[in-house]
Symmetry: C2
């Protein structure tokens, strides 16, 4: 399997990309294509002692930054490290693409250079969030589409379900619709319409779910509109930061508490790792006809390895074929119903 | 000052209500009216050793439960402990009312038996949330009004601002509008329209605020529609529960970690108290022409004391007069502008 990665995307590129690619070749048995200025990549590989085995460098010029218009990845900047990565994917020279570069450019590039799955109205970038017991759940929409229709959310539910099964190894992922209560009458028109659709969708729909249950692991796939989803994600982040500050203040108060910190050091480290994006690596862009993964901007080699692992599992388990089939069936059923 | 409390509202009524009332008489120097079955109240006062000083019992029959239709508080059940409390407030026999009973009934009773402030479109029940540094901020709307207009949110901003200044002692409270980014173009139509209104409202409007900044103390008053507000509040709650579980698992792992727990016991207790609703006591129902406070359903005597303290400060600092004036000015300005 060949996976292409944007060699200059992310805060720690190209060094951590190169080290992550070497790890992926070694541990996952894949081949990696790395895009970017070949001279720089070569000299950094030598300096870092990254072996050439399994790695192919593909020339590209410059980098898309977060300051660039995201559309430039498909127009004047399609020869950048990100643009070339998408082109290689599009031409079939790689089976999946990864970038830790500008999120907006990845979404634009992923949905413009690559085609969408037939019938899919909108693609969504899908964050994976930590919850109780060291598990993960995904959120669609996490912010790309502020206004969603029930039909969009139905497709998101199918895509999220396929992704969690294929990549995260969760059988029959529990799909929940975010709402302010679990009673039928709770929520807005959007929730009522979406619930009616999800009840007749071939997924494991568990109904409405309240936000307080989600971090405790109530669902594997959380469905909501992009505005609410983004607020939800950022609230989780803010509360995490509040707790981190509080723990720091608690353990650094005096000598006694510092001794306390030493006693739980191992457990603190484990919890911190569990809450860390690095153990996962990437967020898939779901809805595109070919697999695109966004790695966190501050990814290190281990985080990139995580993204490679996700992309590999995604391809191996035919996630896109499964989504395509489920969504085409949906359309057939609708046609049958209406006809 | 006389404050009336629903003697049978809440999980721990009437005992904790009675003890809380005695604390309020003693520590706040107020008089308390307690509604309910007088024989029961009297015998519980004797059993608990609650002194009669400053406490007046007012007869009422039965209790509104969460199973009751909330409208019953104004109709067939207006002689219940909650109904009588609202009537006493309405008749001017008390200057503020408190209940730990059914939230829905309090909202209905508070906005039906009591009148709304002139010009106020909707009342809102306003939760106070803990943030960094042991401080509190309030959220409007927290869930009462799923669909809000920009005009409603403008009134909420004024009411929240007056409340935080009068009751929480915060000068020039920072009012933020919840959004998915701070750039002008971010958000939905509702955020754009509301921002335009808030910019010409005489409050300390700090602009858009992202959910991740709120638990870290970025604002004193958080403005958003009721659906988003409720999701925000419940996400905070869920993340708090996740962290609590994680801490428990961390400290109870083995003997060494249990020793660690002993070393930070004091700090853990302080943090836990800081995150606890009991140190605050009540949520105001803002928008009514007379002060109504909802105490937490599981309030104990200390929590009730907190609610009495809030109500007293609210009355003493003329919060309702200030809201009424600010909202009437708003109308005048609008008329002037349009004329």
């Amino acid at each position: 399997m060949k996976i292409v990665i944007d060699g200059f995307g992310g805060d720690n590129a190209p060094d951590e990309v190169l080290k992550g690619a070497a790890l992926a070749v070694d541990k996952l048995g894949i081949e990696v294509l790395i895009t970017g200025e070949v001279d720089t990549l070569k000299s950094r590989m030598q300096a870092l002692g990254v072996p050439e085995k399994g790695i192919t460098l593909v020339p590209a010029e410059g980098v898309i930054t977060t300051e660039d218009n995201p559309l430039s990845v498909v127009k004047q900047k399609n020869n950048t490290s990100m643009g070339v990565a998408f082109n290689l994917l599009s031409e079939g020279k790689a089976q999946a693409a990864i970038s830790a570069g500008s999120t907006a450019a990845i979404v634009v590039g992923g949905t413009t250079i690559e085609k969408r799955i037939k019938g899919v109205k909108k693609a969504a970038l899908v964050p994976l969030m930590p919850c109780s017991g060291g598990k993960r759940y995904c959120v669609l929409d996490g912010g790309a589409n502020l206004y969603c229709t029930a039909e969009m959310l139905q497709q998101f539910a199918i895509m999220g379900s396929c992704f969690m099964e294929a990549t995260m190894g969760i059988k029959n992922p529990r799909v929940g619709l975010l709402n302010i209560g679990t009673e039928d009458e709770k929520g807005r028109e959007l929730e009522h319409e979406t619930k009616a659709l999800l009840e007749k969708t071939p997924i494991n729909f568990v109904g409405y779910v309240e936000a307080r249950e989600v971090p405790l692991g109530a669902v594997d796939v959380l469905i909501t509109d992009g505005f609410t989803g983004n607020v939800f994600l950022k609230t989780c982040e803010g509360m995490g930061a509040l707790m981190k500050d509080a723990l720091k203040g608690m353990f650094f108060a005096n000598l006694k508490t510092k001794i306390g910190a030493l006693c739980v050091k191992k457990q603190l480290g484990e919890f911190s790792a569990q809450m860390d994006y690095k153990t996962i690596g990437g967020s898939p862009l779901l809805g595109t006809a070919k697999p695109v993964f966004k790695a966190h901007g501050s990814s290190d080699a281990v985080a990139f390895l995580g993204a490679f692992r996700q992309a590999k599992l995604f391809v191996e388990n035919n996630a896109i074929e499964k989504m395509t089939e489920a969504i085409s069936k949906l359309k057939t059923e609708e046609v049958t119903e209406n006809g």
